[in-house]
């Protein structure tokens, strides 16, 4: 029974740790895939959300000068851990709202079994599945990242405009890759393009040469890789380059990662383009980029802008709602509906004054304006990026 006693002791330890919550703080949950398949991306996303929290606290705190605290939970990119983390955040930590979870499956489970019943507003910075749109959520589930539907279609139109009429598509077999691939194919074929190869692949394999050879047999010289640039997307890109299967490579936001540049070298990536969401008002993006660089973050890492926006907007909404959990979701719509004084990332003191004066504000985020539609989704603003030096630079806007 020794181990059982240790277990009981650990449980008691947990319980005593719970017994001393600091009441003065206003807490928001930061649920992310700290462990699990997106472990490489999650820390930067959590850091950028923490930047928003730090800015709030540096500029006088939230509500009556209280401290805003981010409680990190590990949703591990699966429903089991996501519901567990969300339950703890909502019930034990008493969070007012949640940024996250990161993966769509985790969002669906956590929203359905925890946050919707509890009436807590959540904003996911990276859950891109179209299924999130149709959640019966009493208007409590939002996202600062566009549904995959938008991006896939925008990418298809952009490629056709650039004169690429025939492509092969390789996509990671998860909700992200599949959602993108299907919307891309629908739009591309509808507008007169030809899909010469269309295949899913599993992540984390050592070799994709057979997949690539089969895709290349369709005769296209452009490969669209809908995958993550720090995972199997990188392997695929490397092997396609090494073996000369394709000449041009197109990725979506998941591929716009530093890993390919570091691993493959910018000189080998001249024919590589990636689409990614950008802020429509570039001043917003600049403000964020500067602030995030100042705290040692990398502003071009994936989903950091959406994570930051989610956290900052929730802070604004909490301020607007006077700290009332039940009103946060409604306030979230009020602080960013296209009407009122524009607020840029980091302008907390200004926003707080305007809210106190009862004036309307309109947050212009680093990743877009975030004027939510009825389902709590945002339309995407995308640009096509090319590799330049050690980073990415915009080639053209995408419509």
């Amino acid at each position: 029974m020794r181990t059982f006693r240790i277990a009981a002791a650990a449980a008691l330890l947990g319980a005593t740790a719970l017994a001393a919550p600091a009441h003065a703080d206003v807490k928001i949950g930061l649920l992310g895939g700290v462990s699990g398949p997106i472990a490489a991306m999650a820390p930067a996303m959590i850091d950028s959300a923490n930047l928003a929290i730090k800015q709030v606290n540096d500029a006088g705190g939230i509500l009556g000068g209280e401290k805003l605290v981010g409680v990190v939970g590990d949703s591990a990119c699966n429903p089991q851990n996501a519901t567990d983390a969300a339950t703890k955040a909502v019930n034990i930590e008493g969070v007012v709202a949640i940024v996250g979870p990161h993966c769509s499956g985790a969002v669906l489970a956590a929203a359905n079994s925890v946050t919707i019943p509890a009436g807590i507003a959540i904003v996911t910075p990276s859950g891109t599945s179209p299924e999130i749109t149709s959640l019966q959520d009493n208007d409590t589930v939002f996202r600062t990242v566009p549904s995959d539907d938008y991006q896939g279609r925008a990418l298809a139109r952009t490629l056709l405009e650039r004169g690429t009429k025939k492509v092969a598509v390789a996509y990671l077999n998860n909700d992200y890759g599949k959602g993108l691939a299907e919307s891309f194919r629908a739009e591309f074929e509808e507008k007169g393009g030809e899909i010469a190869g269309f295949a899913a692949h599993e992540g984390e394999k050592a070799s994709y040469r057979s997949n690539l050879a089969e895709l290349a047999s369709g005769g296209a010289d452009t490969l669209v890789i809908l995958d993550y640039g720090d995972g199997s997307g990188l392997t695929m890109l490397r092997q396609a380059l090494e073996n000369g299967f394709f000449e041009n490579f197109i990725g979506a936001d998941g591929m716009k990662s530093d890993a390919p540049i570091k691993e493959l070298g910018a000189e080998n990536l001249e024919t590589f383009l990636a689409s990614a969401p950008v802020g429509e008002k570039s001043t917003s993006l600049d403000a964020f980029s500067k602030a995030f660089s100042d705290v040692g973050g990398d502003p071009s890492a994936i989903f950091v802008t959406t994570s930051y926006d989610a956290a900052f907007m929730l802070a604004l909404a909490i301020e607007k709602a006077g700290g009332d959990k039940a009103k946060v979701a409604a306030s979230l719509r009020e602080i960013s509906n296209g009407e009122g004084e524009p607020i840029l990332p980091g302008e907390w003191a200004k926003a707080k004054e305007l809210i106190a004066a009862g004036k309307a504000i309109d947050y212009k985020g680093a990743a877009g304006d975030h004027n939510f539609d009825e389902a709590g989704d945002v339309p995407g603003a995308y640009a096509l990026f090319k590799v330049s030096g050690t980073g990415f630079e915009v080639v053209s806007e995408m419509k």
Partner: protein, 327 residues
């Protein structure tokens, strides 16, 4: 309102423990009593979850179903489907000896996972199935959770009593005989392959039921839920730690592992931020360490298999085999 939060959290943990306990009971039938090394729990979990989801969701375009049937029908269907899938698998794979069986079942679980992820007409592929009805899901948060907990506990109690009764019966003694000395059992005229198949199907049906309860609790099922880490190996750790061959041990193991896993995060959240994120990785390590410690110091688990149930005082055969050691 602080206490209400504790209640909600405790009820949530209890529901999860109940669901995982069903998986552990299923595994206990297979490994604990019959010695079948099934490393494909996630596959049967998935079959159950998706079957019930397809049967009970309202009709949607683009995939099979939903048939909008009552939830109990979905749960029964989940057990039947998991059992039906287990039948041909068992028929082929159970001829393999234990470690080969483990490899074969891992493969089967991966096949099921890939089918689930790829066949959009059946499972809506990577996007998963949503709008799965939860019984009493329209009640307020706490009440709805309590109602679901009552259902899970009811199902678990029924499963526990039935499995216990089965093992106290001659069938249970026969299964242990087959596990401990297959040749002797065969010499006694027992149809060993058939009996092992029985145990494999019963266990898999329970795993399917666990999957169904999980899907209805979350009102959604996505392929991310059938990750082998959380749906197969975690269950193994729970059973080994609790004590394979003992149903109460299986349930205790589930409770201990889940409580430590879940509550350790609350403790690590008290650390300063930069450590709090790193400590999340430590939790994974903690579970592995726990398994190592148990295997080293208490290989029979917290509650070992009861040895005195049978009436034969035979030191030659009742003995030395620790259930945790793999052969």
């Amino acid at each position: 309102m602080e206490w209400l939060g504790f209640v909600n959290y405790a009820v949530f943990m209890a529901i999860f423990i109940g669901i995982y306990a069903l998986l552990a009971l299923g595994l206990n039938i297979q490994w604990g009593y019959t010695g079948l090394f099934n490393a494909g729990i996630a596959g049967f979990f998935a079959v159950g979850a998706y079957t019930s989801a397809i049967l009970t969701t309202p009709f949607v375009e683009g995939r099979v179903g939903g048939f909008g049937l009552p939830v109990p029908v979905g749960w029964l269907g989940a057990m039947v489907a998991a059992g039906l899938i287990a039948w041909p698998i068992g028929k082929i794979c159970l001829r393999l000896r234990s470690d080969y069986l483990a490899i074969a079942t891992i493969g089967v679980a991966e096949i099921i996972r890939l089918v689930v992820k790829s066949e959009g007409w059946l499972t809506n592929a990577a996007r998963g199935i949503t709008n799965i009805p939860r019984p009493f899901g329209d009640l307020a948060y706490t009440m709805s959770q309590l109602a679901y907990l009552a259902i899970v506990l009811g199902v678990l109690l029924a499963a526990y009593l039935l499995v216990e009764r089965q093992f106290a019966s001659p069938w249970g003694r026969m299964m242990r005989a087959i596990r401990d000395n297959e040749d002797a059992a065969r010499a006694m005229g027992k149809d060993v392959p058939y009996r092992r198949l029985e145990a494999f199907i019963f266990g898999s049906a329970l795993m399917g039921l666990g999957g169904a309860l999980f899907a209805h609790f979350n009102r959604t099922i996505t392929p991310e839920a059938i990750d082998p880490m959380v749906a197969t190996f975690l269950v193994w750790i729970m059973l080994i730690l609790g004590g394979s061959g003992n149903n109460r041990g299986a349930i205790l193991g589930v409770a201990v592992v889940w409580i430590i896993w879940s509550m350790s995060e609350i403790v690590t959240d008290r650390l300063p931020h930069e450590y709090a994120v790193k400590a999340k990785y430590l939790r994974v390590f903690l579970i592995g360490l726990m398994l190592q410690v148990v295997l080293r110091f208490r290989p029979e688990g917290l509650l070992p298999e009861p040895q005195k149930r049978t009436h034969r005082p035979d030191p030659a055969t009742s003995g030395a085999r620790p259930p945790a050691a793999s052969d």
